[in-house]
Amino acid sequence: MLAVLASMMSHAAAGTDDPADPVLGRGHWAFSPLRRDATPMQFALAEWPRSVDDAFILAQLESVGLRPAPDADRRTILRRLHFQLSGLPPVLDDYFDYENDPLPDALERHTDPLLASPRFGERWGRHWFDLARYADSNGLDENFLFREAWRYRNWVIDALNADLPFDRFVTEQIAGDLLPFASTEQRDRQRIAAGFLVIGPKVLLGNDPRQRRMDVADEQLDTIGRVILGQTLGCARCHDHKFDPIPTTDYYAMAGIFTSTQVMMTRYMLGEQRMMERLVGIGEEGDQQNSAYETFWREQPRRKEREKQAKSALELLEKDDESGFTDLAAKHADAVSADAADRGRSKDQRVASQKELLERIRAEIASPPAIPPRGMIPCDEEKPADEAVRLSGQFDRTGDVVPRGFLRVVADSPAAIPEGQSGRLQLACWLTDVQAGAGRLSARVLANRIWYHLFGQGLVRTVDNFGRTGEAPSHPELLDVMAAKLIDGQWSMKMQVRRLVLSRTAAMSSSSGDPQSGRSIDPDNRWYWKADRRRLDPESLRDAIWFAAGELDLARVDSTVAYLGDQATAVGDNKNRRRTDFHCRAVYLPVIRNDLPEIFEAFDFANPHCATGMRPKTVVAPQALFLMNDPSVLAVAEATARRILVIDQYRNDEDRAEFLLASLLNMPNAGPERQELLAFVARLADTGTGDDQERRLRAWALACQALFASGRFQLLD
């Protein structure tokens, strides 16, 4: 700890004068040129590395006196591989095939189908959703539903499945609405991608609109800064960054791009006009449908007023108050039917006619058009403009206006933003521009994120912070080589993932190796002398349990929140709460901010209010309680038991126990465990109420639940 502190202090000392100076800041490792041609130092264990990545790892290990752990057994490797690429466990056939595959490219042949499967996008899309602070509701003060967010969610999943190059992936999310298109379908797809900017949380009520404008821009800027650049840009909102080369002027140069962008609009909702997320009709007819829908709601108060007056008119007619009726008819002609106003008719006729009008108005009120297909889509402001620096970050204390632009620590070249544009398109290109923009930094950040997801800790452990307050990379050359490979490989994320899962480093065992020297020399496993044992995230945990029960439906899903009203949480009279009883994969479950599915809440799901590159890893009581007691777990455990007792044919309990241990815990032929399991089942089947069959079913259900709750199930060895 002291060593780290010392190095941090000397670091600070090096940037003596002004830490926010962008030119001085270029010396910081994250901004420096990529060392593309770096080669690993010497290493002795020549037969170990399979790739250049391995060589860097090995050289570093040997230099500190460590040896890599032996390979894990094939079954363990396969279980890891499946969870990492698909978020689901292998089935017994997969284990059997891989274990008995004699060919040298066995691992490749088991990897490629996983990369090609739609499960890949669901798994890695979820990693992106943590960063994109994806949610189906606004959160914060007024938790209104984001009814259309799922379209963005599915766009991300598709993009990862299609291995959309990362530079394009970023560009579409930041400026998709500004890109050229060849078809309506392409236009909509790109626009929906830009929903990335719209799905952030916003304080909707009670604050000054000028404050909100700056807050919204700040939220976008902070998200993009952390997610793509690994920079804490938000710090420069109130003052020059205290540690990183980001002066306040750079912050407002970028903020101007986002204050020149619209992500909100006034819409009629829950009885009034409100500032809400911006929605645009999609499809050929989208605009007309959307405008018809909005018009209907805008006019609804008028209709209700008309109903009220028509009702009064009817009452006046019925009690023969002719003068009151005449007054009303004079003021609200549209609330009185022509026949009712005709004194030549009988009272009955007039009443009947007025009643008919009232019914017609009521029918109109009660029949709004269906919600049209819409997307959460930004656009440029009509008059994009540069932004003034806000003194101390206060929206109403303006300083100098700064021309829109990007971070000067990256390059001096000013942004060429054409008149009448926000600059988002230029920003999007700059972010991944390797020559003139931040492409090198973005590639480093992305390469590190991929490494983090596969190995459990980043080479830069502060995955969202590549600034001076973050940590330096443990293997700087390796990080640079990976970043260069990403760039040279047309920013293909799948290729990067593939190379790393095939590496020797990925094959290491988590339990054996050289524990003595490993634990004393490198207790945190900073040099990767073994694999880190990792806990399943809640999505994988939930899917694996449902999968075991045969209760998981792998079909792709659209909205899982359509049944909710405009209020996303059940508050007061609104009893309508998000459901979690879907059989789809967890990635499609509703992400209501401040009302997450219970299993997400318990098991360290990312807080969807902000970009999260690294989820917390806690071990807290609600997790144990969830697995011990949650009704959904009990139900699925019972379904699993029913499956092995009724549906699948086994000769005897021995076979059942063997199946469960092998498929759920990856423990074939585990004698003692099998005996314990059988003894437990026998004991439980002897107690309690019900007939033999019921008791047996319950005993097996409890056994299955126990297996789900065990570390072998929850952890990736």
Partner: protein, 477 residues
């Protein structure tokens, strides 16, 4: 084995990330300030960071815990604790902006208060006739009449009340307290919230945000549910007897121990094992705390349990006392969303006060006779007050500009009225106390310097009061 290990995987790395952060003097200061918590990474079998042993108060603490009675919706201060004769004299007239320092010409028609106010106790604290039981404790109360905040809508104001911020997700006050002091109890979290609101920020109001998850509150029921039917999620399994579940857990633990042993005693698996034991203990402990069967008849009567309209809030307050006895550090009790009187503020205030008056008075008496009041700071308050001006003929609107809260116990000077508003209750004119100041003061009562209780996140140190907050020392004895 201690079971206070709510987050056993607090690794050296986490500690480093969270605490050793700044540069130069800053870093050294932070490090020194954090040493108690940070330097002792817990491992299986050793005390976790969530324990009182690590508590190192910055000052001599006046209270060991805080019990916050939250009146959701915003009670009308001018009808309850801040009498305004001028308001009654001028009722029906327009309140002119210049009379209360507002830019707006006219602020609306003034609505007088129909309630009688009296001075109570030796300190002569003014309390309206709606709190006859509470009035008997007047010499234990310190009424702060000059609180002010931002956020004229409930959502924003609730978030500011509970977390100090509205547009960013920040830890709740209780989570900061838990982080700062740890738990005194082996089987309960340091932060419990009884019947929390689901709306207006929902879990964010009792969440831990970037602080470790063990600091978030354990929630009991929600505001919409009567407390008698409320439960902590998943704290029990109706399908199994305790012995069957223990049998099942033994099987799980046996699998886990074999797993750990085969990996050369893996700390990660060990913490999983410890966590199951903790959960099982919690589940065995909680029913006794949640139940009222062990309470005497006179205690139940004291809280108004068993009679209406006090039964529900009485049960909530009784539960709060039990948590206080158990050493929980921060306990919040919330009413339902019933104090938002845009219409009929008179009838509404009568009805709502009747629900809470006796239970609160009972709670104070009960804490006092058990010797708990001296180290429990009881806080009564809401997200904002209500306008002196009328709304909808007989109601009052939201008013964050000035409102009243009171405190009792925990070293607070009883019989004190602190701060004052103008003649109409519109704005504080003497000793204004901002929400950040209230937060700083609460931490101060617990012996914590709000400027030194920091947590490193996303590259910088965060604290409850951001860059604000002044401790109101005058309210302490």
């Amino acid at each position: 084995m201690p079971c206070n290990n709510f987050q056993a995987t607090w690794t050296r790395r986490d500690a480093l990330r969270a605490t050793a952060c700044g540069f130069g003097q800053l870093a050294l200061a932070a490090l020194a300030g954090e040493r108690t918590r940070a330097e002792q990474p817990p491992h299986a079998g050793a005390p976790g960071p969530n324990t009182a042993r690590f508590a190192a108060p910055h000052f001599a603490p006046r209270a060991k815990r805080i019990l916050f009675l939250f009146m959701w919706g915003g009670p009308s201060h001018v009808d309850l604790f801040d009498p305004k004769p001028r308001l009654n004299l001028d009722a029906g007239k327009q309140l002119s902006g210049k009379d209360v320092g507002s830019d707006r010409e006219q602020l609306g028609e003034l609505l007088g208060s129909p309630f009688r106010f009296d001075r109570h106790g030796e300190g002569g604290v003014w309390i309206s006739e709606l709190f006859p039981h509470l009035s008997q404790h007047a010499d234990r109360l310190c009424v702060v009449r000059s609180l002010h905040t931002e956020g004229s809508a409930h959502g924003e104001a609730l978030l500011r009340l509970h977390t100090g911020q509205a547009n960013l997700v920040r830890p709740s006050v209780g989570a900061w307290v838990s982080y700062g002091l740890g738990s005194e109890n082996d089987c309960l979290p340091a932060f419990m919230t009884i019947s929390p609101p689901r709306g207006h920020g929902g879990v964010q109001n009792y969440g831990s945000a970037f602080l470790p998850a063990m600091h978030q509150a354990m929630a009991i029921g929600s505001a919409e549910t009567p407390i008698a039917q409320a439960a902590v999620s998943n704290l029990g399994n109706a399908r199994l007897s305790a012995s069957q579940q223990r049998d099942q857990l033994d099987f799980v633990q046996s699998l886990n121990r074999r797993h750990s042993k085969s990996s050369g005693i893996d700390p990660q698996i060990e913490s999983l094992i410890a966590n199951y034991e903790l959960a099982f203990r919690m589940q065995s402990t909680m029913p006794a705390i949640m139940g009222i069967q062990d309470e005497s008849r006179s205690t139940l009567e004291l809280y108004g349990i068993g009679s209406e309209p006090t039964d529900n809030f009485g049960r909530q307050c009784l539960l709060a006392r039990k948590f206080a006895e158990q050493g929980v550090r921060y306990i919040q009790v919330s009413t339902n969303y019933t104090w938002d009187h845009h219409q009929k503020v008179q009838q509404g205030s009568i009805a709502e006060a009747a629900k809470v008056d006796r239970p609160i008075a009972g709670l104070i008496s009960d804490l006092a006779q058990r010797g708990l009041l001296e180290d429990t700071l009881v806080l009564w308050g809401a997200e904002f007050g209500r306008t002196p001006m009328v709304e909808n003929g007989d109601g009052r609107n939201h008013h964050p500009q000035a409102f009243s809260v009171w405190m009792a116990g925990g070293g607070v000077r009883g019989g004190l009225t602190y701060g004052a508003t103008d003649d109409f209750g519109y704005r504080p004119v003497e000793n204004p106390v901002h929400m950040h100041d209230l937060h700083a003061t609460l931490l101060y009562a617990l012996g914590i310097d709000h400027e030194r209780l920091t947590y490193r996140h996303a590259g910088r140190d965060f604290r409850l009061t951001d860059v604000h907050g002044n401790v109101v020392r005058e309210i302490f004895a």
